[in-house]
Amino acid sequence: MSSTLSTPRAAATPVVLSLPRAILWLASAAFAAVALYYFVGVDQGATSVFGNDAHIHEFVHDARHFLGFPCH
C-alpha cells in the first residue's frame, strides 16, 4: 500500500483517465446501458416508449421476474 509514488496526488500515474477527454464515450455508453436496463426491466409495464404494445414486455417476461423487476 505505502509503496506508492511519493509525488503529490495531482501527478498520479498515467492510467488515470482524463475525464474531459473521455466524457463523450463514457456518457454515451452509460446512456445506452441505462436505456437497455429500462427496456429489459421497465418498458411496457408502467410506461411505454412504443405506445400501447406489450411485445418487449412479453418477450423478456421471465427475465424481468427473475432479475427482480416488478411485473404482472
Binding site: V15, W25, A29, Y37, G45, R64, P70
Partner: protein, 285 residues
Amino acid sequence: MERQLLARGALVGIVAGLVAFVFARVLAEPLIDRAVDYESARDDAQAALDRAAGLPVEHEHADIFSRGIQANLGIGVGVVLFGLAMGTLFAVAYAVCLGRVGGVRPRSLSLLLAAGGFVGVYLVPFLKYPANPPSIGHEDTIQQRSALYLVMVLVATFGLVVAAAVGQQLAPRLGTWNATVVTVLGYLVVIGVVMAVLPSTGELGANVREYGRHATETPQPLRDGGGRIVFPGFPADDMFAFRLYSVGAQLLLWTVLGVGFAPLAERVLRRGGAAPTAPVSVSAR
C-alpha cells in the same frame, strides 16, 4: 483507453449474462412454469366462483409469445442484455474510479465495483421489494411498484457513491478501518430509513381498498361465499426457491463481471503504461 475498457466491460457483461441465463434456465424455469400454472388454475377457480355468484367472468387474452419462447429465448435474451447493460455501466464506473479512489489496485477495484453493483443495483432493492415469480402482483399497481423499485435502485446505488466519497474524505483523519466502519454504518442507517419510509407493496392504496391489509401482493387463498378455502395461496416453498435462485443468479453475474474484467482491465492498463503490480493511484496525502 476508455474505449478498450468499455469494450471489455460489454464483452464480460455478455458472458456474465450467459452464465446467469444457464443458471436461470436450469433452476428458475421449472419454478416459473409452476407459478404460471398456479396462476391459470387460480384464475379458473376465480371464474368458477364468479359464475356461481352470478358475476361477469373475465376472458383470458391470448399470449403474444408462447411459454416455450418466453422460457428459452426470451429469458436468455433478457438476462444477456441485462448483463451487457451492467457490464457497460461497470466499465464506465471503472474508468471514472481508476486512480481516483485511493491506493486500490486495478484488480481489486474490479472486485470492489462488482460488489458495489451487486449490492446497489440488486441486493438492497431486493431486500425491500424482492423478486417475485409470475402470478404475484396486481395489474393496477404496476406503475407504483415500478416507481418504488427504481427509487430503491437509485437510492441504493447513489448512496454507495456518496458513501465511497465520504469514506475517502474520512480515511486520512480516522484511518481506513474506522472510516470504512463509519461509512458502512452511515449507509445502513440511511438505507434503513428510506426502507422504513417507503410503503410495502401490500400497503398501496389500490391493494388496501380491494384486498385489505397485507404485507405484499402474494396471492392469498381463495374462499367461497361461506369463507371456506377453495384454492390455496401461493406456495411458500416455490416463492422461497425462486427468490433464492434470483439472488444466486445475480451473485453469479456480478462475480463473473468482477473476476472476468479484472485481468482484462489490467492488460489494457499495462499497455497504457502503468506498472502492473503498482497501485494505480497515489495515496500520499
